[in-house]
């Protein structure tokens, strides 16, 4: 394993650990299914917005370790699998349907909006990488 690859792996691992702990702590605040549903929606939307902003800011630069740190943090923080699980197991049928339909749209929009806000206009813009 080469050195840059190792540095990337370490930053992704540390970012994933921090992100997962923050998500877990937010879920622990209250123990009700509705709270978890609203919380997961907020976590996913906020995580996408922040990752979009970070990658937009880093676009056009050669900083693989910073990109890996942002992606690792976002990987640990947001969760698609819990979105699916909570959408499937929540009791209120209509709330589930709205949650399942709205979350991906909001996530994609938030990420695109974050990238557009912080994208540097003086540097050549690459496609989010």
């Amino acid at each position: 394993m080469t050195s840059p690859r190792l540095a990337e792996s370490i930053t992704v691992g540390v970012g994933g650990a921090v992100g997962a702990v923050v998500r877990f702590e937010i879920w622990q605040w209250r123990d009700s299914p509705k709270w978890l549903l609203v919380n997961t929606f907020g976590i996913n939307a906020f995580g996408c917005l922040v990752l979009g902003a970070a990658l937009g800011y880093l676009s056009g630069t050669r900083t693989p370790v910073l990109r890996a740190a942002a992606i690792g943090l976002a990987c640990g923080f947001t969760s698609f699998s819990f979105y699916a699980l909570q959408g499937v197991t929540y009791d209120g049928a209509w709330n589930s349907v709205v949650y399942i339909l709205v979350t991906p749209v909001v996530a994609v929009t938030a990420l695109a909006a974050g990238a557009l806000i912080t994208r540097p206009h003086t540097r050549p813009v690459e496609a989010l990488r």
């Binding site: 990337e8 792996s9 992704v12 691992g13 540390v14 970012g15 994933g16 650990a17 921090v18 992100g19 997962a20 702990v21 998500r23 877990f24 702590e25 879920w27 996913n44 995580g47 996408c48 990752l51 979009g52 990658l55 990109r67 890996a68 992606i71 690792g72 976002a74 990987c75 640990g76 923080f77 947001t78 969760s79 698609f80 699998s81 819990f82 979105y83 699916a84 699980l85 959408g87 499937v88 197991t89 399942i100 979350t103 991906p104 996530a107 994609v108 938030a110 990420l111 695109a112 990238a115 496609a127 989010l128 990488r129």
Partner: protein, 120 residues
């Protein structure tokens, strides 16, 4: 303190596996497959109601980080910015529908498997 450490360990492993499997979140096919499989396993494990430490380490930590929402959104936006609108729509739709379906499948697989096991 211990649950936090378990979540941290699981989250680090999940994020690392996802990052490596999807080639630094650039391969939509691998990302969709990883996400859908993680959803199926999470549904199965949740239906099995495992002990708390296992739930914390594997579900909240590993499987939560193995299938992040940001990868789905990032790969969709990347495809759109490259002008591949159809590919982006297919990826997003396949991941969402496949993820929800596989979670239900994993959940039902455990319950129906248990029922069958008790019957015979």
């Amino acid at each position: 303190m211990t649950p936090v450490l378990l979540v941290a360990f699981g989250g680090a492993a999940g994020a690392l596996v996802h990052y490596r499997l999807t080639h630094a979140v650039t391969d939509p096919r691998r990302a969709a497959l990883t996400t859908v499989l993680a959803c199926a396993v999470l549904g199965f494990v949740t239906a099995a109601s495992p002990p708390q430490w296992f739930l914390t380490l594997v579900c909240f930590g590993f499987l939560g980080a193995l299938a992040p929402m940001t990868s789905v959104a990032l790969l969709t936006v990347t495809q759109v910015r490259r002008g591949r609108y159809r590919k982006a729509a297919v990826f997003l739709l396949a991941t969402v529908v496949g993820g929800i379906a596989c979670t239900m499948l994993g959940f039902l697989l455990y319950s129906s498997g248990l029922t069958l096991y008790r019957k015979f």
